[in-house]
């Protein structure tokens, strides 16, 4: 038995590679490292947020934890067990303990299945309960996410985006998982509906002691949902800290750039943005990574060493890890 203080999820040096098609016929295939040596751990009952822009590898990290993509190297420990080493029947049975809520509630629900079938499917696959029990569980899940029991007989297209995301959440909770990976669960929704879904997720977490890995590009959403946050840039984790700390005292220039760039309703009260805080240019393509710090090309504080040597993610103090040669508060 693992002691209760041990993290529920521990990701250790995780790398994921995608093979890109050759640019010329019979040319060499190129390998892209979408996730590069990522390590973090998530305590039971807490939320770990991963923020970053497109191409940062945050969704690939989520997919790797779910074992939906092949892992190139590294270990994933779930409640002390080597999740990355599981396969076949053992992995299938293990999957009831971790589930995922996907970004787009329009494409992630089978349009030809009734809502009750969609929610029940994980129970069928995992062979949990009798038929009657599964049916009762489906009704219970619908109520849990704020849908009426009649909703079970309808098809996904009869629902709005927010309601569909509730269906996705009900499906994810069907097997009573300990860990739920939420991959941009509200970014396809209108702001007013986002709040409904975020409040629902927070309530469910409180009531059922769920552990979340919460992926979003929206700093406000992550700040609201998470205890601990990791910032990713081009496949690397560049900073990890408790949410409050990260947003009030960011150390990495990229985190600072993200915070400065976020449009805020307090824009008027804010002291004028430090000019250097805004990142320069576009994020480079993950297929064109050079040596040294990956943010160096967009960083106003970059020196010669930054282009030569990639900084390692190192603890600044007990709570705060950062990967920058010149990290300052």
């Amino acid at each position: 038995m693992t002691p209760p203080t041990a993290p529920l999820l521990q990701v250790d040096g995780l790398s994921v590679e995608y093979v890109l098609p050759a640019t010329r016929a019979f040319g060499h295939k190129r390998v892209m490292r979408a996730v590069d040596e990522v390590s973090f751990s998530v305590a039971r009952g807490t939320s770990f947020g991963i923020v970053g822009e497109s191409g940062s590898g945050k969704s690939t990290t989520a997919a790797a934890i779910m074992r939906l993509v092949a892992i190139a190297s590294g270990r994933i420990l779930f409640d002390g067990e080597r999740l990355d080493a599981l396969g076949g029947e053992a992995l299938r049975r293990f999957r009831r303990r971790l589930q995922i809520v996907l970004q787009d509630p329009y494409s992630s629900l089978n349009p030809r299945a009734r809502v009750a079938e969609i929610i029940r499917e994980p129970l069928d696959i995992q062979e949990i309960g009798t038929r009657g029990e599964r049916r009762a569980r489906t009704d219970e899940l619908l109520a849990l996410v704020g849908l009426r029991p009649e909703a079970g007989r309808a098809f996904p297209h009869q629902f709005s985006g927010g309601q569909r995301q509730r269906i996705g959440i009900a499906r994810a909770l069907a097997t009573n998982p300990e860990l739920v990976v939420c991959d941009e669960p509200v970014s396809a929704l209108d702001v007013a509906i986002q709040a409904q879904v975020l409040n629902l997720l927070k309530r469910l977490q409180r009531e059922r002691g769920l552990t979340f890995v919460f992926i979003s590009h929206d700093l406000g959403v992550v700040h609201y949902m998470c205890d601990q946050v990791g910032v990713m840039y081009l496949g690397r984790l560049v900073e990890i800290a408790p949410a409050k700390r990260l947003f009030s005292r960011p150390l990495h220039p990229y985190t600072k750039a993200l915070l400065a760039a976020r449009p805020s309703i307090h824009a008027r009260d804010r002291v004028s943005k430090a000019a250097g805080a805004i990142a320069i240019g576009d994020p480079p393509s993950p297929t064109e990574i050079r040596s040294g710090c990956r943010f160096a090309g967009r960083c106003s504080a970059a020196q010669a060493i930054c282009r030569r040597e990639a900084p390692l993610l190192e603890p600044k103090d007990e709570q705060h890890e950062v990967a920058c040669h010149f990290a300052t508060p």
């Binding site: 209108d190 509906i193 975020l198 406000g220 949902m225 993200l258 805004i278």
Partner: protein, 322 residues
């Protein structure tokens, strides 16, 4: 007060259907002063993009302006014929869209597309138009502009495509630029750069801007005044500072309260929810369209449409309970 660049007055837009017509914009009125930024804010389906299309004379088939006027420097665009609109669009008024990939033509180079605007509206020769296109790419801070001029849209990043769109839109130094969710498809660090560019161009060209967005943060960053829209109707008009400090309409209060706010952040406080969802425009009753989602609504709200009333100078609200 100077004459406004744009004066929208009593505009009602209808969609013709077999079962009769549905009003998708209802009695909309607002003005845009020279050099000013006005934001149209609301959820999907509130009519903010339809407002832009009505101003541009680009309404889809079977949708038409049924009443009201849209005056650009006094000239009524709602009654203008196609030739007049073609002359005005891209010249005195222009628009940028949410998704620059679909708004740009994939089979022409960036340079050719910018040059076309100048050949059509300014009668420049192809060579002169191309030279001017290069200047415009420089003006929107595109790196290596001479090379970009010869590239196709698919060769550019999302942020760069939006800069190209902006270069095309400002080629003729328009009086008014309409930006419809210009940064929704972009990453946040790139969004900040596009906002900075829009601010800079406005200052340099003295043009007015209509910003269409669902993001109150973007409104606070860019706009001077805002019009909050709900189900085809403007429910609150106010200077942005006042709107954010003291929103009057319950819908505006909800829109501001539902944003996870890290600055005044008590992360444990629940977000304000706006329950339910946007109503079907065809099924709106006689009263306030927001009544079913509003915590303050009573029978009177459902029975009678609240008129737009002035609360303070420049601050107007359509609510019985405000």
């Amino acid at each position: 007060m100077t004459a406004p660049v744009l004066a929208v007055e009593g505009v009602t837009v209808e969609r013709q259907a077999r079962s009769g017509s549905v009003r998708i914009l209802r009695d909309l009125a607002f003005t845009v002063q020279p050099g000013e930024t006005v934001a149209l804010v609301g959820e999907s389906g509130c009519g903010k993009s339809m407002t832009a299309l009505a101003i541009m004379g680009l309404l889809p088939p079977r949708i038409r302006v049924a009443a009201g006027s849209i005056r650009l420097d006094g000239e009524d665009l709602a009654r203008a014929d196609a030739r007049t609109l073609n002359r005005i669009r891209g010249d005195r008024i222009s628009m940028i869209f949410q998704d620059p990939m679909t708004a740009l033509n994939p089979v022409f180079t960036v340079g050719e597309q910018i040059a076309e605007v100048l050949r059509v509206h300014r009668g420049l020769s192809p060579a002169n138009a191309l030279a001017r296109a290069l200047d415009l790419l420089k003006a929107v801070d595109i790196s290596d502009p001479a090379h970009r001029l010869r590239q196709y849209p698919h060769e550019l990043s999302g942020g760069m495509r939006q800069r190209v769109m902006i270069a095309m839109a400002v080629a003729c130094e328009p009086r008014l630029l309409i930006a419809d969710e210009p940064t929704t498809a972009l990453d946040v660090t790139v969004q900040a750069q596009v906002f900075e560019l829009l601010r800079d161009l406005k200052r340099r060209l003295g043009m007015a801007l209509i910003l269409i967005t669902h993001d109150m943060g973007a409104v606070a960053e860019l706009a001077d005044r805002a019009v909050v829209m709900y189900a085809g109707r403007a429910v609150e008009y106010a200077p942005v500072e006042e709107l954010i400090r003291a929103p009057c309409h319950p819908y505006t209060q909800g829109l501001i309260g539902c944003i996870p706010d890290m600055e005044s952040g008590d992360a444990n406080a629940e977000l304000t929810e706006i329950p339910g969802m946007v109503p079907d425009l065809a099924a709106i009753g006689p009263g306030c369209a927001f009544a079913d989602r509003c915590g303050l609504a009573d029978a009177a709200c459902r029975a009678e449409l609240p008129p737009v009333m002035e609360r303070a100078p420049g601050h107007r609200v359509a609510c019985w309970k405000a």
